[in-house]
């Protein structure tokens, strides 16, 4: 028998396979394979191959766009959106359109070609997270932007086009639809109950303990009740926080710890799968949305999305979160 579960925030239903859940073995992942180390534009010494850097953490006395950096931010060579110009929204009959203003940056997490985020030292991961915050704060000053999305595609199965590990940041002139749905859902909940739905969710997860992968003093990582994908995980600050970029040094240290642990567990259990993560944070349009709570969603790309999912927005999940965490919790890392 399957079970239908509803995401309490956006109201999306998912179909969960309860009787014969798929195990990591059934999901057959071929481990990630690094190629193309020779001419990688993201490696040490090849800095000239990328557009000039926007910001970097580097060794003292090293010049921009030379070796000696730890984290380096560059504009995307093929940006989905362009930074120059004014926003020009217009109509075309019944259609609405706008020019593609925005920022699209690449965050090089490490100079080492064959290291993914969880392979880095805690201090190095902290630097990556700190850089995310710095770039967000900088772009927040640009009044044209309403939203900043930080995300990562790891492996070609997750849409990565370059092998060397990196994450990306896109600043958008409008709030994206998925975020609006979350804002509306959590906003309605807050209006009625005067409580944050994410805080309530954390409380229920801590009570039930059925879906928690791991936690520390400041963060919790769990497989969401209405997961869209097998082994989907959410990482959240336990304390109510609207903006990711307001994270303190101690928040960043705790987040680095939990992120390293969670990604390493996923790597072990699922044989180094392709994955995406995204940070959902409050919009930067000046409005304060008390019912929102920033979080990171991690999605291993194990199953293909087919016609049913596209047509309905209804996901069928072969591994319930309660089963997934058994593997994740016991994973030796």
């Amino acid at each position: 028998m399957t079970e239908l579960r509803r995401d309490p925030i956006v109201g999306r239903w998912v179909i969960m396979e309860m009787d014969q859940p798929m195990t990591p073995k059934d999901l057959h992942m071929a481990p990630h394979h690094y190629e193309d180390t020779a001419n990688c534009p993201f490696c040490y010494g090849n800095e000239y191959m990328t557009p000039p850097e926007i910001q970097a953490f580097r060794n003292p006395k090293t010049e921009p766009n030379t070796a000696g950096w730890q984290v380096r931010v560059i504009p995307n060579k093929f940006p989905a959106l362009q930074i120059e110009g004014n926003l020009d929204k217009r109509g075309l009959g019944i259609f609405d359109l706008s020019n593609g203003i925005g920022a699209h940056e690449i965050i090089l997490e490490t100079p080492y070609h064959e290291k993914d985020l969880p392979d880095l030292e805690l201090g190095e991961i902290e630097n990556v997270l700190r850089m995310y915050c710095l770039r967000s704060k900088d772009l927040q000053k640009d009044k044209r932007f309403k939203y900043i999305m930080i995300f990562k595609n790891y492996g070609s199965g997750a849409g990565a086009t370059l092998d060397h590990n990196h994450s990306q940041l896109i600043a958008l002139p409008m709030i994206p639809k998925n975020v609006i749905e979350e804002l509306n859902g959590s906003g309605e909940y807050f209006d009625f109950r005067e409580r944050c739905i994410f805080c309530d969710m954390i409380r229920q997860e801590l009570d039930e303990k059925e879906r928690i992968v791991t936690q520390n003093d400041q963060f919790i990582a769990f497989c969401p009740f209405a997961s869209r994908f097998p082994f989907e995980m959410w990482v959240m600050p336990k304390e109510h926080q609207l903006f990711f970029h307001d994270s303190s040094d101690s928040d960043i240290a705790s987040m680095a710890r939990i992120l390293k642990e969670v990604l390493a567990k996923m790597k072990t259990v699922l044989n180094d799968p392709p994955y995406n993560f995204i940070i959902h944070t409050s919009p930067i349009d000046g409005e304060e949305r008390q019912g929102y709570h920033w979080h990171m969603e991690i999605m291993p790309r194990l199953s293909r999305i087919a016609g049913f999912e596209w047509g309905t927005g209804f996901y069928a999940v072969s591994t319930p979160p309660e089963v997934a965490i058994k593997y994740l919790r016991d994973a030796r890392i």
Binding site: V10, P79, A80, F95, G159, A306
Partner: protein, 342 residues
Amino acid sequence: MPELRKDPVIGRWVIIAVERSRRPKGFKAPSHQTTEEDCPFCEGKESQTPREIFAIRKEGSAPDKPGWDTRVVPSKRPFLRVEGNINRHGRGLYDVMSGIGAHEVIIETPKHIGNIADLDETQIAKTVTCWIDRFVDLSRDERFKYVLVFKNYGTAAGAGRVYHSRSQLIATPVTPKRVKEELFGSKKYYDYHERCVFCDLIHQEMESKDRIVLDFDGFIAVTAFASRFPFEVWILPKEHNCDFSRMSVEKRLYLGKVLKKVLTKLKIGLEDPAYNIVLHTAPFRRKKAKAGYWKTIEDDYHWHIEIIPRLGSPAGFEWGTGFYICPITPEDAAQYLREVEA
């Protein structure tokens, strides 16, 4: 300069990379699974499937025996099961119900052919008749609110190992989110304009002609203005109708023709890509339903088919935002498809 476009029905923004528009050859089409010797869907293998629910058969042939043109069987690995009660309940903050529904497979040909584009239009019309017959039958089951008819062709589109042309349908006990968004979007438009947004869209497309792929026999095929995917094509009946199951026998044949033509153009133009098809129609409307919930649906909604070639896989940005980046403009895609001889 890339362009941002908003879907007029549900309000989803997409990024269209106008200048970087890749030529269609730049896409690598995923390859298909190989032909299987022991295909369970071929004529003569009826015993390998669950018992048939419906079939269009030659006179005198018996169920679950050869002699059929199209055949509907329950899915062997159903997402949802037909037996039982819905049993809605809460678990703290979370809502749950049992996985009740129907999941059926429509086998579109007795021959071992993989792509529906290679069937003739009368055969495709018979598939449409199966969709309609099953839709009408399932509408009598009060537990169901919606039926999605869809198709996965090629492994990259989520099709299984068997290479035999088929579509699927799933009846769900709730109206799916993506469908609801469309329904609400159309209703909102109708409440203000007192016109159907899809009819307006058809008029505008016929005037500008930029995105038209085909236009004949009462159907129009266009590349969507705010395409999420390269070469995303929508097929709409030009005459307003919210419910596809009312299609006359004659129109089913026309739809068969249009589907064949569009899918053949995709097959030739994009080198046999994997694709998904979904059919969006009005949900079941029953007296019991919340008063006024879908009061104007007859006038505000318009059934249609969406075809999505699977040329790239959406990455983190698309999942996280619901904001799609489409690497080719629908105008270029339409022009390319118009020029493909099919």
